[in-house]
Structure formats: C-alpha cells, structure tokens
C-alpha cells in the first residue's frame, strides 16, 4: 500500500542519516531538567558542536570516557570566570538520546549558575538554544525515539511548550513584549515592501522610493536593537523580571517607598492624596533578582475621571502582579493580627504573594510592641515590617523580606525559567541584528540577497514573537500596493 512504500522510503533516509548523523548540522542546548527550584539542573547539548562545547567549558582538551560521570570545574570560555563545579557526561553519537553527539552538564540549580552556563554555551560558534520539542524531533529523525519513551516525552514536551507559551504570553503583555511586537511589525512591513519591489516593480506601480523607506526602517531598527542588547547586559536595567506592585490606600507613602527602593525620585510625592494617577514603573536589581517595580494610584472610589482610570489601572496591575507590596499607614491600622489580616485582604487578590509594609513608623511614637508582635505573627498576616520612608528605618528588614520572597518566587516551578527565556531571546535578537547589518552590505549589489537577510532577521525575531508566513507578507503587499495583472 501507499503508506508502506512511502514510509519505507523514509526508513531508508533514516538509515542514511544514522550513518552520517554527526557529520553536519548545528548544535542545540537547553535545560533539560525542567524549570524552577532544584538542587541540580541538567543542561544538555546535541549536535556536532557538543564535543567542542564540553572541551571549552571544562577547559580541558580531553573528554571524559563515554557515558561516565566526571567531576569538572566549569568556566566561561570567554572570560575564564569559574561558573560552577559540576558533573559532566559525554555521549558520543549514535549512542545518545538524540543519536547525535550529546553532552550533559549537571550543575547547581541556582538561576545565576544556570543562566551563566547557558550564556557561555550561546556564545560558542555553531551553538544555539533549542526550540521547543527540538531534542525530541532530532531523536525522532535519527530513529532513536523508543515508543514508550516517546509516550512520556510527548507529555513532557507538551508541558514544556505550554509553559513556554504562557511565559511568552506573560512577557508579551509587558513593555518588553510591546517592544518586540513593534519591531516585528516594522520588520515584517519592511520585508513586505521589499518583496513587493522584487515581485512587482517593473510591471506595476511600486515606486523606487519604497526602497529608501525600507533602508531607513532597517537602519533605525538595527540601531535600536543594538542599543537594547547593550542595555540588556547591564545589571540594573534587567527587564522582564519579577513584577512587583506597590498597592494601598491613597496617601500612605507608596510613591515614597518606590523612591526609597530605587534611590531616586522616580515618582512624584506630595502630601495630597491621589497624587499618583498613572502607573510608574522602574526596573531594579534586588539581591540579584531582576524586579520591575510599579507604583500605582491609591485604591479608593475616586470621583475624578482621571483618578478613576488610575485606580482601574492599579487594580489591573494588581491582578497580574507576581508580588504585591501592600502599604498601610502604621498609625491607622489595628494593632492585632486579625484586623491587620483583614486590612491586607481588602487590598490584595487572594493567593498573591505579598509583603505588608506599615509606613510612617516614625509617627507612631510611644509603644510599638503590639504592632511589632502582630507583624511577626504569621498568617493571616503576611510577612510584614514597620518602615519609615522618611527616616529610612526598617529598610534593611524590608529588603530581607523581599529577598526571601523573590528567592521563593524564582524557584517556583510555575514561574518558568526567565533566565532560559532571556538567553534564548538575546541570542535571537543578536542574530537578528547581525542579519540586519548584512542587509546594508548586500543592498547595493543584489536585492535578492538583501531581502534574504531581512527574511533571516524576521525568522530570528519570529522565534520570539511568532511565525510570519508568506501569506502574511503577501497580505501587506496587496494592502499597500496596487499590483497584479
């Protein structure tokens, strides 16, 4: 039957591939132990570059014996900076999970170590982060996938891609997502106009000036991408981190808290209730974790339409927060646990991780013992501290609480692995920028080659923002130009 003939042809190809499986192709890497808090993280590579990668990261010319665990110091080959001490395994193809040369690095599971190793791998020539399901597909292509193994793997990959999709969606809602989306639209439009010029200009009304517009768009995008990649490497401005939201009634000192934490007057503060109306956002590095901190309008039933919009935005942020800093006026709260818990409960969505900040502690005077005891009580009171934004008293305790919460959050398997996503993103953005630079080089000589660079750039960006097919490009062409015969 047809199926039999077809599949046996496929079978022949598999056999051929098995013979030459390590001869060519790029090398992929990814964390394969799942995301989140764990003692040990396993980072896996597959492809002909695995051998070189293992040598580079262990700094030794010899490989460990096949399929035997070996203890090695792992360094970043670019800087020689030690990243970790961990176990490495060498699986020469075809006796490996994917059938290709594979290596595994079993390192400590902290986000810094994992992202450090991933960054180091990403800088090696010929290595790139794996796309969802790619290890399995490679294993499949080499005829390595055993059915019972596949059964489990399919579910795992399903979970993996679902998690990544959620993660991607979450990021896409933020500033970063909007930025990528805008780039994607700019690039798709530029590509479509160039494609129109190639497919139509001579017979139709596609004017020469389209080209200079494409040039300008590409140049601007290239510069913006370059700046972004530079920026992303600096610690303080790490983006896409934990979204912490400061919330509370009006005039309790929310904006003062934001200014205190970022050590500059990022938000306007005044004694007038309702000063903050829009969401003010700053990126922070808190005990090594990237945090995007938002100050929001005080929560009350506002009458002024602008303030009402501010309150609605504040509630929207609260719903999407990873961590809430609930701020209350220390002089106006009940000094007993049940009352405190109720006050927080009226502000914060249930189940959201939360820190309670009792501000204006400097105005308390006299006896603060009952309030301190209530703070230390635990549920229904969230982790809490007294603070004076005016004097700075209590800030150390707040940072300590923040650090604990962030550690817990970043280790939470549900939060996904921002470091993995980030390293994938920056790699794709880097490749995108490189392709845009090549566009300029080809532009005068060969428009086809120049367009190819835009297609490549689009493909790299598409790994972050989603695929754009030929039909989408044609849609833009026929929307913007009167062409066809």
């Amino acid at each position: 039957m047809a199926l039999r003939g077809a599949l046996s042809a496929a079978g022949r190809r598999w056999a051929q591939q098995r013979l030459c499986c390590t001869a060519r192709g790029d090398t992929i890497f990814a964390v394969s132990s799942g995301h989140g808090r764990c003692g040990v993280a396993v980072i896996r590579t597959s492809g002909p570059g695995s051998r070189g990668a293992l040598r580079s990261l262990t700094g030794r010319p010899e490989l460990p014996p096949p399929r035997v665990l070996a203890l090695r110091r792992i360094r970043d080959p670019a800087t020689a900076e030690p990243l970790d001490r961990g176990l490495v395994v060498w699986f020469p193809g075809p006796q490996s999970f994917t059938g290709e040369d594979c290596a595994e690095l079993h390192v400590h599971g902290g986000p810094a170590v994992v992202s450090g190793v991933l960054r180091a791998l990403g800088r090696l020539p010929g290595l790139r982060p794996a796309e969802p399901g790619e290890f399995t597909r490679r294993a499949f292509h080499r005829g390595k996938l055993d059915l019972t193994a596949a059964e489990g793997l399919g579910d795992l990959i399903h979970a993996e891609t679902e998690a990544q999709r959620r993660q991607a969606l979450r990021q896409m809602e933020g500033e970063l997502g909007r930025l990528y989306q805008r780039w994607s639209e700019t690039l798709t439009q530029a590509l479509a106009h160039l494609e129109a010029y190639i497919d139509f200009s001579e017979d139709d009304n596609v004017e020469e000036e389209v080209l200079s517009q494409v040039d300008a768009a590409v140049r601007a995008l290239e510069q913006e991408l370059g700046a972004h990649l530079q920026d992303g490497r600096r610690g303080e401005l790490l983006r896409g981190g934990v979204r912490a939201v400061i919330a509370g009634p009006p005039n309790v000192g929310k904006s003062s808290l934001l200014n205190l934490l970022c050590r500059r007057p990022a938000a306007i503060v005044s004694p007038v209730a309702g000063t903050t109306r829009d969401v003010v956002e700053v990126s922070l590095n808190v005990t090594g974790y990237p945090v995007v901190l938002s100050d929001t309008a005080g929560l009350r039933d506002a009458t002024d339409p602008v303030e009402r919009e501010g309150v609605s935005r504040a509630r929207d942020r609260l719903q999407r927060a990873d961590l809430v800093l609930a701020v209350l006026d220390a002089t106006a709260v009940p000094a007993e646990p049940a009352g405190l818990g109720a006050a927080v409960g009226s502000l914060v969505p249930p189940a959201a991780p939360c820190i309670l900040v009792l501000n204006k502690a400097d105005l308390l005077g006299g006896d603060t013992g009952a309030l301190r005891a209530a703070c230390a009580r635990g549920p229904p009171v969230p982790p809490a501290t007294l603070l004076s934004c005016k004097t700075g008293d209590g800030i150390d305790r707040l940072l300590e609480l923040l650090g604990q919460q962030l550690a817990q959050l970043c280790g939470d398997p549900l939060a996904g692995s921002p470091s993995l996503t980030q390293s994938r993103h920056s790699q794709h953005l880097g490749d995108c920028a490189a392709a845009l630079a090549r566009y300029g080089r080809h532009r005068a000589r060969d428009l086809g080659l120049a367009a190819e660079q835009l297609r490549l750039a689009r493909r790299h960006l598409g790994r972050i923002t989603g695929h754009v097919g030929a039909e989408d490009v044609l849609d833009i062409i026929f929307r913007d130009f009167c062409v066809g015969k």
Binding site: G133, R137, E202, N205, D446, L447, G484
Partner: protein, 646 residues
C-alpha cells in the same frame, strides 16, 4: 494561449525554467515564437531574474502543434469529454473508485490507465460582459457542464472562481508617438536550457509601450457599477469581496481599491504580423460601449478601435486539498488534475502542474513511486505544496516571495536541481538534455574547485586584478571564488590574470556566468543548507493518506484535528506549514507516524506481490500515451485533454 500573449515573468519565469529542466515543451516553443524577450529584475540579482517574452500566438500554436504531432507513439484525439468511466477501486489505495477512461461528446469511449483533467475555465464556465452573461468556457466555446456534474456527484468539493481578459485593440489605430517605449533585450535570453539562441534576430524584435489611465476612466467605472454584474458580485459577495481579484485585478478592482491615481496600461503586441494589441492592465467587464469610452480616455488610445470587448469568466474549480502531491485525486484513483481546475492562474502555473501530473499519471500506470518535487527543490514544489496543503480561495499565482529557499532555487540552476531526477526517476528527460546537464554539472564542480584552490593574500590579488576593488581589512588569504563575488569581478578578468587553469572555464560563456552566480550565492546557499535539510527530513515523514484525524489515538486538540482533517497534509513538513499547528501537536503526530512506520516495517517482512506490474492490464503504448497527453496539457492548459470542440 487563450489570454495574454506573453510567457514568464518574475517567479513565473522560474517555473518555465523548471518545466524545461523536466523536458516540458513550453520553454522550447517560446524560444521559437517570441517577438520580444526581456529579463525582468535585471538589476536585482540573478536569483530573482524574471525571464519573460511576448509571444506570437500563431507561431506558438503552430510550433506546439508540430511538437505534439511529431511526438512518437502519441495519438492525438480532439473531442469534448462529457463523462468519466469508473470501476472498482484498487484495494490498498485510498479512493472510492478508479477511473478507466472517458466518454466523449459523441458517446464513444476511450479506455486509459489514468486521466488528467485540465479543464481551464470550461467547467460550468460563464462569461460576463456588462449585465449580460452566457455559458461559455471562453469567448465562442461551449462550457463543460456534464463533466462538472460528474465531478460534483463523485463528491469533489467544488468552488467558484473569477477571472477576466482585457479588450483587444487594432494596432494601426493607436498613436504610439507620445508613449513610453520598452525595447526588448539584445541579446535575448532564451527560456530553454537547450536553446543556444532564440529564433528571432535581436533587432527584429517588437517593442511594448506604456500608457496610463486617468480620472476619466475611474469616473466611468464608478458611474456604471450598476451595469457591471461581474464586479458587483465581487464587491458585494459575502466572502469574495476581500480576497478576490487581488492577484489579477481588473481595472474596476484597481480603481475601487486604489482610487485617484494613474494605473499602468502596457500595450503588448500579439504577434509579428498581427494587428492586435493586448492592453495589459485594462481587464474589464463593463458593457462594450462603456469599455470603448474608457479606452478612448487613455493617452495614445484616443482613436483606438476595439476589436473585441473585455469580459469576465466565472468557472468551477476543485479544492486542491483533495489531491496528493502527485496531483492524483484522493477520491478517484488514477484521476489527476492540473491547471486552473486546481485554482491557479497563468500559463506557467498550469504548465508546472501539467508536467508533474503527466509524469505521475504515467508512473502510476507503471506501478512506480510518485515523482514529487519538494519545496526545497523548486518553485514547482512550492506551488503544488501550497495548493495541496493550504488550498486557495482566489486564483493562485506564483510569487518569489512565496519561496523559502529563493537563494538556492534560481532560474540559472533549474537543470542542476531537476534534470537528473527527471531522467533517472521519471524517465521524462531526453538523453540529449540529460547529457548536457551532466556535462554542465561536472564543469561547474571543476570550475568551483579550481577557483577555490587559487588562494592569495589581498595585496597579491590587488596586484593581479587592479580593476576589482577589495577591502584591505581582511588578513586571511582569499580564493578566486571569493573574488568572483565582487560586482566588478568576472571569469574573464580572473582568467586574464591567471590563465592556467582558468582560461578553459572562461572561454565557455554560459559556464562563466553560472560560476559567477554560484560565487555570489555561496554563503547564503551554504547557510540555508541546514534548514533545507530540516525541511527535507520533515517531508520524508509521510502521513498516511487515509488517516482519520478524529479517530486516531494521539494527544491532539479538536481544533488541530479539524485543521489536519480539512488540509490533509501529506508529510510532517506540510503539517508544520499549516497556520495554528503547535509544536506539541507536531511531536504527537511524529509519534503517531513512528508507530505506523514500525507496523509497516513488520508487514514488509512478508513477501508481497506487486499488483500493478506494467503490461498486465495496459500496454506500454497506453502508458506513454498518458504521459504525452499530460505533456500536451501542460502547454495549452485551456484546450487539451478535456476538450470542448473548436
């Protein structure tokens, strides 16, 4: 050629080259019939060059007829086909019945191993001019009604498409003096790999002329929409309004979508001796007297005489997702479709399908595996994969932007991509063409090896070839192949500097040109190789043709199952091109294929008999007849195997 008097163009020229590489006829016949040869996109790089020619209708018809009638073993029979002869299906192929012949208009029958339908616009064709409409496949020809009913009865999903043709003008009534002239190339570039030159002397070629519409034409169109059935239906139709007429818009569509601007009108000669001018861009369906008004409003055409009005055609097409990649229908075994019946527009798109349907109709009768061109191998592959995987809801036209591997799939190398396979797997390529392709391939390999072996420092190269400006920043040595990428470099310059061993390559003009192109694209082609490999691997993973996606035991969402079921992808590669299919769904399908594959391997351990040995049921002659019929159909898509009497 029943519509425009031209062949090729951007993207379409690629198709003609590929058809020629498989020994299809249209390229060769165009080289015997063109009156104006022009390579479009000359300054945009050889990957997107568009070979194009204005073709003399009469010469094309005569030369094509001569080729066909002189084809050995081919019997040509001209008649209308009214019905199909059907019989029991072969048990282990999908399909509810099998075709075994056709019934002609006079009631007689022709028995055959396979049938290719290339009905053009004839299936329930309906011509519209103004408010009038009448059944016709094209002006003066009866439509095909019986066959359309048969296909519908068999359960084929049928859709309706529209197309149109402009009025024709008398050349001697046009004032060309103030118009922009476009002269032909000198020397002309032939379509066929076999043609050393085209038939016409370069200086004897005719020119085309460009003029523009103005607000007056727009006014006439807008004031008379109520007199224009074809356009009214297009703009009011519930589903058609947005997509229809984008790729081949009528003047009305252009004016409505992009008002208040000039629209180009190319005045193209219909032949060397012909007094007919084809005004490309003026396709319209207004009543004839209003068409005359539009024409007279255009510069140069103030006194032009309209020889024949433009008109619209609406016709049946079949959802091409009902076909396999070999263009055989899944419903009726051994019944193949090619051309406009599959929802495409253009001679070149039709020819591309014709050659593939023809080859496969023949291979099928001989019991051989199908001949499929992959997306990674040719524009033909992109065209057929797009049609059979994604379907289409307006006449599908080839664009280079549809092609993922545009840098590799160039007009210059179509022979290297397809001729060898055509000879070895399909048996459709002549010995002469095959030998020429083999020779060229070997010469290219030798040339590239020789160029790569010549390595010097940048300063040494600057001495050797001062006419090429090199960037001096490079420290590592450069090969002659690297040098050849520079715009000013060519084989002649290189051979002058280094006669040994380059002189022998430089002497061969075609080879020199191809070597330069290879050098320019090497980086891109090498870079794409990995991706190409990935696509090929995915395309090698076939999905069973009769898979019931709602029944299979795989973890797939209902939405994904619906998409798979309506698009019927044949390979994992095709699955990944369907919008909205997730990576997880692909992996789950992979698992399913793997499972099937194992079972199939087990089955293979048992001896099997081949039920379709050639000669058992059909003579060798019948088989080649099928093939030739297909080749014929690829050249004149509107008027062949399924034919209404002329």
């Amino acid at each position: 050629m029943s519509c425009n008097p031209s062949f090729g163009g951007i993207g379409k020229g690629h198709l003609v080259r590929e058809v020629d590489a498989l020994d299809g006829l249209c390229g060769r016949v165009c080289d015997l019939a063109g009156v104006h040869y022009k390579v479009l996109n000359r300054c945009k790089g050889p990957a997107v060059w568009g070979l194009r020619a204005q073709v003399d209708r009469g010469l094309y018809r005569d030369n094509m007829r001569k080729e066909i009638l002189n084809t050995p073993l081919l019997t040509v029979h001209e008649a209308s086909v009214e019905d199909l002869l059907l019989t029991e299906p072969e048990p282990d192929h999908p399909g509810k019945c099998r075709v075994r012949g056709v019934v002609l208009g006079d009631g007689s029958t022709v028995h055959t191993g396979s049938v290719i339908l290339t009905t053009g616009t004839f299936l329930r064709g309906m011509i519209h001019v103004g408010l009038e409409k009448h059944p016709a496949g094209r002006l003066g020809d009866q439509p095909s009604i019986g066959l359309a009913q048969t296909l519908e009865r068999l359960g084929f999903a049928v859709g309706r498409l529209k197309t149109g043709t402009p009025p024709r003008l008398a050349k001697d009534t046009i004032d060309f003096s103030g118009l922009e002239e476009r002269t032909a190339d000198n020397p002309p570039v032939p379509f066929s790999f076999l043609s050393k030159a085209v038939w016409i002397k370069p200086e004897d070629q005719l020119s085309c002329y460009l003029t523009y519409t103005n607000p007056k034409a727009q006014q006439i169109v807008q004031d008379n929409l109520h007199l224009n059935n074809h356009v009214r239906e297009t703009t009011k139709g519930p589903r058609l309004s947005e997509t229809l007429y984008l790729y081949c818009p009528s003047l009305e569509a252009k004016v409505l979508r992009f008002p208040n601007r000039e629209h180009q009108v190319w005045l193209e000669p219909e032949g060397l001796e012909s007094n007919v001018i084809y005004p490309q861009g003026l396709s319209m369906t207004l009543p004839p007297e209003l068409q005359e008004q539009v024409i007279k409003s255009i510069r140069g055409l103030e006194k032009a005489k309209m020889l024949q009005p433009g008109y619209g055609v609406q016709y049946d097409y079949l959802d091409p997702r009902q076909l396999t990649a070999s263009l055989e229908s899944r419903l009726v075994q051994r019944l193949f479709f090619a051309g406009q019946i599959n929802g495409t527009t253009g001679y070149e798109e039709a020819a591309a399908q014709g050659v593939i349907a023809g080859i496969n109709a023949c291979l099928r009768v001989r019991g051989k595996p199908p001949f499929i061109v992959s997306r990674t191998e040719g524009y033909i592959g992109v065209l057929i994969d797009d049609l059979t995987t994604l379907g289409t809801n307006e006449p599908y036209r080839m664009f280079t932007s549809r092609v993922e591997f545009r840098m590799s799939l160039r007009p210059d190398n179509a022979d290297a991509r397809l001729t060898h396979r055509g000879f070895e797997e399909a048996g459709c390529v002549s010995q002469q063409r095959y030998e020429q392709a083999v020779k060229m391939k070997a010469a290219l390999e030798d040339g590239i090896a020789a160029l790569k072996s010549l390595q010097f420092s940048v300063s040494k190269w600057s001495q050797l070839i001062p006419e090429v400006r090199l960037s001096s920043s490079r420290r590592s040595p450069m090969s002659a192949f690297d040098i050849l990428q520079y715009p000013e470099a060519n084989m002649e310059i290189l051979a002058r500097a280094i006669p040994e061993p380059l002189r022998k390559f430089a002497k061969w003009r075609e080879l020199s040109e191809r070597l330069k192109i290879e050098a320019a694209y090497e980086w891109c082609v090498v870079n794409q190789q990995e991706e190409i490999e990935e696509v090929r691997q995915d395309e090698a993973l076939q999905l069973p043709e009769d898979l019931d996606y709602f029944a299979i035991d795989a973890s797939l969402s209902t939405e994904v199952r619906e998409k798979l079921s309506s698009n019927r992808p044949q390979t994992i590669g095709a699955v990944s091109r369907i919008p909205g299919i997730t990576p997880a769904a692909i992996v789950n399908l992979l698992r399913f294929v793997k499972n099937k594959h194992r079972k199939a391997e087990k089955l293979k351990a048992f001896p099997q008999t081949d039920k379709y040995l050639p000669g058992k049921m059909y003579s060798e002659k019948a088989a080649s007849q099928t093939q030739i019929s297909a080749e014929l159909s690829e050249e004149e898509p509107e008027s062949t195997f399924v034919k209404t009497p002329v």
